[in-house]
């Protein structure tokens, strides 16, 4: 709760809204105690007094009634009606939505058809029809506004409930012996409450506006009682001669609704866990670079990643995802980068072309040189011209990485035409050729398919075709087969290997699977806690790992054909990269660790084989 309030007030606009609304609510609550004229006391002698008149701070209206008093009493009424309408609509809508969403099937179908029917009416029209039945009056206007808003809540909450009802913890609750009523109350509802609160807080303002609108039309509160809307309605005829009688209630409505909206947005932001973590930030076109020094150029590798440092800066926390990583890639070579989740392997790969989401990602040091040209901090246009042309990517999940609404042919054509000004027809021909190259049957027909019409394996072939579109020198493949079935994985790996041989491609292959590395890669680098701990020729590293982490990780992996057995596990967890221990990051889990492992910087030593360990298993 205190966290919630802190988050709420961190948002200055929401704080402003809270203060304004607080003052208004306080005034409304205190109205009966304040020394005001009675709101309905008429005085024909004092009609249309201007604001700041003697005894009438805000002036008087067409019957000589004190505007300040009527304003405060009207505010009281409008606030009460708005909140009540939001509460009724929110609770009724949520109840309907939860029922429909949880039980699904026919209950859901029938309920939602009814809701759709109500939503087929333009909004205020339905409210007008309801008021027509019930007759004008504030209470009736409240009912009309509440009823009209129920479908909105019901739909919204139903959607959320369907999502929750299919979560595994609901199944777990059923298996734990809970009945439907208990599951609804203790498992579903607590997860719905924040959504209902958000929906209510963002719609109260709207409800106040609507009830004011009905009153403005003369369908809400009836004279002499007045809410803000009917004050405006009555003042309209004297708009030109006595504008203050309109402006006073109008500005009050504006103030109330605006402060409610600001506060509502603040509540929504504070309750949404994604906003809380800053995950809703828009990633920029290229990763932000903030490095103090640039390491001097050396070597003549095709791609030279030199002491690369990439961090995620979330609030005060700094996650050192990539920590002084150096790798190089020669033409036609396949380098495997292996590690567990959170080891920094994907971030390393994405840093090369500035594709790490930023915020929160920042490249804080090092260099990435392509044929000697530093890509880190290169102008956007330079980077863009190289993306896809010299260095292309293949990503993990082909369903989410292809644009769902463009035909695959158009996505390929775009990839070609971004870098080469060829005609549409020429690009189309090349797109078909690319699909044939990645062995997609019936390429000429498939070119006009949408991604969702293809199987996972076919989609990943399209992903590969797109990477090949401009005949790049380097392909960075970020776990390209992890989302695929094992038989499809074998097909894709064979295809990648064949393309590499035929086109002389250099591949940086990111994976967590030693089997895949062993079959595909010439060299391998092992990452742990954001650093390279070992690198060398694949067979040498796999046959005789030098770093204790590598050795024990290989031992963890069951291999097919070895029969039933107890596996060697590594106790403990990989370190969190925002609080890395001093010295070797693996030391807390290592059975060979000495005191010296836990202090100071440990270097990566060796020539063709390198290891970052004081007590390696074999001499590098």
């Amino acid at each position: 709760m205190s966290l919630f309030l802190r988050l709420l007030f961190r948002n200055r606009l929401a704080g402003f809204g809270a203060v304004v609304l607080g003052v208004i609510v306080l005034l409304a609550l205190l109205t009966p105690l304040l020394p005001l004229h009675p709101p309905n006391e008429t005085s024909t002698a004092n009609r249309y007094l201007r604001p700041l008149s003697d005894g009438h701070l805000l002036g008087t209206d067409h019957l000589g009634r004190d505007l300040l008093s009527r304003l405060l009493w009207g505010t009281r009424l409008s606030l009460a009606v708005g909140f009540a309408a939001a509460l009724i609509a929110g609770l009724a809508g949520a109840a309907i939505g939860v029922m429909a969403g949880y039980f699904g099937g026919r209950t859901d179908n029938v309920t939602m058809r009814g809701i759709d029917m109500l939503m087929a009416f333009p909004y205020i029209l339905l409210a007008l029809a309801i008021v027509a039945v019930l007759g004008p009056g504030l209470l009736n206007a409240l009912i009309a506004v509440a009823v009209v808003n129920i479908p909105f809540f019901a739909r919204n909450i139903r959607g959320v409930t369907v999502g929750i009802a299919h979560r595994e913890f609901i199944d777990a609750a059923r298996l734990a012996g809970m009945g439907h009523a208990r599951i609804l109350l203790t498992e579903v509802v607590p997860n719905i409450v924040p959504v209902v609160v958000i929906a209510m807080s963002t719609t109260i303002g709207w409800m106040i506006l609507e009830t004011a609108g009905l009153s403005f039309l003369g369908l809400g509160s009836q004279p002499p009682q007045a809410d803000l809307g009917s004050m405006l309605g009555e003042a309209r005829s004297a708009l030109i001669t006595a504008p203050h009688t309109s402006i006073v209630p109008g500005v009050m409505i504006l103030l109330i609704v605006m402060s409610v909206n600001l506060l509502g947005d603040g509540i929504r932001d504070a309750l949404d866990p994604r906003l809380r973590s800053g995950a809703l930030a828009r990633p920029m076109a290229a990763t932000r670079v903030d490095r103090r020094e640039v390491p001097p150029a050396k070597g003549e590798a095709l791609l030279d990643i030199d002491a690369l440092e990439t961090q995620f800066q979330v609030g005060k926390r700094v996650y050192k995802a990539v920590n002084k990583v150096s790798l190089d890639l020669k033409p036609g070579e396949c380098l495997g980068l292996i590690g567990e989740s959170g080891s920094g392997k994907s971030v390393t790969a994405l840093s090369v072309m500035g594709l790490v989401a930023s915020p929160p990602g920042v490249i804080t040091g090092g260099a990435v040189r392509l044929d000697g040209q530093d890509l880190i901090g290169a102008p956007y246009e330079v980077l863009r011209a190289l993306r896809g042309r010299r260095v292309a990517y293949i990503f993990q999940d082909p369903l989410s990485t292809l644009h769902p609404l463009y035909r695959i042919g158009d996505q390929l054509i775009e990839a070609i035409r971004v870098h080469e000004p060829v005609s549409q027809a020429e690009a189309h021909k090349r797109a078909v050729k690319l699909l044939e190259d990645v062995q997609i049957p019936n390429a000429a027909g498939r070119v006009s398919a949408f991604p969702h019409e293809l199987s996972g394996g076919m989609r990943q072939r399209v992903g590969i075709a797109m990477a090949l579109a401009n005949d790049p020198d380097i392909i960075i493949a970020d776990e390209p087969t992890t989302a695929l079935d094992v038989t499809v994985q074998a097909q894709i790996l064979a295809l990648l290997d064949e393309l590499r041989q035929r086109r002389g491609l250099a591949i940086l292959f990111i994976t967590h699977d030693f089997g895949v590395v062993g079959q595909l890669c010439d060299r391998v680098a092992v990452m742990y806690g954001g650093r390279i701990v070992e690198t060398g020729p694949t067979r040498a590293v796999l046959d005789a790992p030098a770093h204790p982490y590598t050795r024990r990780l290989i031992a963890c992996v069951p291999e097919l054909g070895a029969g039933r057995r107890i596996l060697a596990a590594i106790p403990g967890l990989p370190p969190a990269v925002d609080q890395l221990p001093e010295g070797c990051a693996f030391a807390p889990r290592c059975d060979k660790a000495q005191a010296s492992c836990k202090t100071g910087e440990i270097d990566l030593t060796g020539t063709t084989r390198k290891v970052r360990c004081l007590f390696p298993e074999v001499a590098p």
Binding site: L13, D116, M117, A120, P122, Y123, I124, L125, L128, A129, V131, A132, V133, G135, P136, G205, W206, A212, G213, F216, L217, G218, G229, L232, L239, I247, G250, I253, L254, V257, N261, L262, A279, L280, A281, R282, P283, L350, L355, A357, Y380, R384, A385, L386, R387, G388, A392, F395, D397, S400, T401, L402, H403, P404, L405, Y406, A415, V418, H452, M466
Partner: protein, 315 residues
């Protein structure tokens, strides 16, 4: 696509029937007796009974409904007793004025709202985003009728740029520039809230889309950032924006009620409010059915647009 449109049109039939049922039931629930309302409270019981029989009000409810529906389908919406003319004539006279006003406001809110949302999302937390967010918050918080009144004070009374009212008939007299002069203020006043809502939701939809993997793919291909935002991202975000546009069309169509009153616009909304206050039931029934049917039709257009945009829907 043709099959989808046909399917969607057919599925509108039960909705339209449902609308007539709801409208009929709501109106049937109105307390009091229409015959008494027409004849006045001094009418003799015999006269009331005779008029009831004449109006078919002594029949059972379901028969009354089918008679009414049958007449409706033949274009007979009954007679307004207050105006003493056929309901349909009265509605058709006024409906074009409402459509012009609501249509203009809808175009404004769609175009400006989406553009503002995209610009805001593309420069998240930047100066443009902050300015747009502020204007949007103001926009969604101001009652349209109050805004209309303030615009009249400023532009018609103080500056004398635009007329505050004086639209009597859309087709009578006045040329296009005259129409535009009369339309400007009401259309803007009507569009402001909807524009704010569309801008907010577009911004949210864009931010959601910009974090998706396929945006990263587009960037990895070397697609220019401008095209990433206005092409790849907006295209995907439209899937979330279009349904909102459908709902906003309903807001604009019915929000016209206020604006028509403030600007003396000769539309159907003002007619409805008067009819409700006078308890002119047949006119209310007819007006509501026609506006709702129009809205259903618009929603079909929205759904078809959605299906055209998102190939995953048609299956």
């Amino acid at each position: 696509m043709g099959g989808y449109i046909l399917k969607r049109l057919l599925s509108a039939i039960p909705v339209l029937l449902g609308i007539t049922v709801i409208v009929f039931l709501i109106m049937a629930m109105i307390p009091g007796d229409p015959a008494t309302a027409i004849l006045g409270s001094y009418a003799t019981p015999e006269n009331v009974a005779r008029l009831n029989r004449f109006l078919g009000l002594d029949e059972p409810l379901w028969r009354q409904y089918f008679i009414w529906l049958g007449n409706l389908l033949q274009g007979d919406f009954g007679r307004s007793f207050a105006l003493n003319r056929p309901v349909l004539d009265e509605i058709l006279d006024r409906f074009s004025a409402t459509l012009i006003l609501a249509g203009t406001a809808f175009l404004l809110c769609a175009v400006l709202g989406i553009m503002a949302g995209v610009i805001s999302a593309a420069g998240q937390y930047g100066p443009a985003d902050k300015a747009i967010t502020f204007v949007v918050i103001l926009g969604i918080s101001v009652p349209s009728f109050f805004l209309g009144m303030m615009m009249i004070l400023l532009f018609a009374v103080q500056l004398r740029w635009l007329p505050a009212s004086g639209m009597y008939s859309i087709w009578g007299g006045g040329d296009l520039p005259d129409l535009i002069r009369h339309l400007t203020m009401p259309a803007i006043a009507l569009a402001v809230v909807a524009t704010g809502v569309v801008a907010r939701l577009s911004r949210g939809a864009m931010l959601e889309v910009l974090r998706q993997d396929f945006i990263r793919t587009a960037r990895a291909k070397g697609v220019h950032e401008r095209r990433v935002i206005w092409g790849h991202a907006l295209r995907a975000a439209m899937v979330g924006i279009i349904p909102v546009l459908g709902i906003q069309a309903g807001f604009v169509l019915s929000g016209a009620v206020y604006i028509e009153i403030v600007f003396q616009w000769p539309g159907v909304g003002r007619m409805l409010v008067d009819a409700i206050l006078r308890r002119d039931i047949l006119l209310v029934q007819g007006g509501v059915v026609i506006i709702a049917a129009c809205y259903v039709g618009f929603n079909i257009v929205v759904d078809v647009a959605q299906a055209w945009l998102d190939p995953r829907i048609k299956t």
